[in-house]
Symmetry: C2
Subunit: 145 residues, 2 copies
């Protein structure tokens, strides 16, 4: 992982379909050299995949909320994972420090379907209660770039 690798990652982040030759022109390598590095970055797990960014509203994911989940007693992360993986609206979740057991990021079509998804989280075993914050306006969005 030298500076050339980082610059190649930057180019691919901007355009994952850029040709090896084009990337090479920017970073100062031949197409073959770039391909070898990209292949190695994939093999090493540095590049975990090539994807697209899709407008969330197109796929009924324009409404979002962050939810703190509070459980009764002690619940293993595995139990929580199983529960949350069964709710497709959950896009991101983790166990956290502090009073809540987990924080869950939900994405859905509208408030109604968001509430429906939240209910599925809330009515699961072990879950005591939740504390929700519905996103009104997005301020920063650098998760996908």
């Amino acid at each position: 992982m030298d500076s050339l690798d980082h610059r190649i990652l930057d180019r691919l982040r901007l355009n994952a379909r850029a040709g090896y030759g084009d990337i090479g022109n920017v970073v100062g390598l031949s197409a073959s050299a770039v391909k070898r590095r990209v292949d190695r970055l994939v093999a090493d797990g540095v590049i975990q995949g090539f994807t697209i960014k899709v407008d969330p509203t197109i796929e009924d994911r324009g409404t979002e909320a962050w939810v703190e989940v509070y459980c009764r007693g002690t619940v293993s992360p595995d139990e929580l994972r199983t529960l949350l993986e069964n709710v497709p609206e959950v896009v991101d979740a983790g166990t956290v420090t502090g009073s809540a057991d987990a924080i869950v990021h939900l994405r859905s079509k509208d408030i109604a379907s968001l509430e429906e998804a939240l209910d599925r989280v809330r009515l699961a075993p072990h879950v005591d209660h939740t504390r929700s914050a519905i996103v009104m306006s997005r301020l920063v969005s650098r998760e996908q770039r």
Copy 2:
């Protein structure tokens, strides 16, 4: 946006470098027809870009936290945005319903640098106090990256 478009998006989400011919074999179209649809999806803003998923630890973003931001008085979303955009560790943020003014998702190298970033948020004008939850274990990760 018909079902073919959705299936093409699914294929590209799995592998943004898949060939048009390969995608066509799966969805039942010729390579040209797939290319025309992809070009249209890009032109219409449905596909917002082609990117890579990079292992967060490689780029010093392995430690994360969710932070509720509470402000004094009334603060416009624009002021909050300006503030948060100047902290590179902020990967995601939005104004929310409930008692907090905003929720901020931070990613950094380790706890120490996370705390440093949090301080930059906390010491900004208008910010009264924050309430943080550091992520211990990731449960679900379906965010498009």
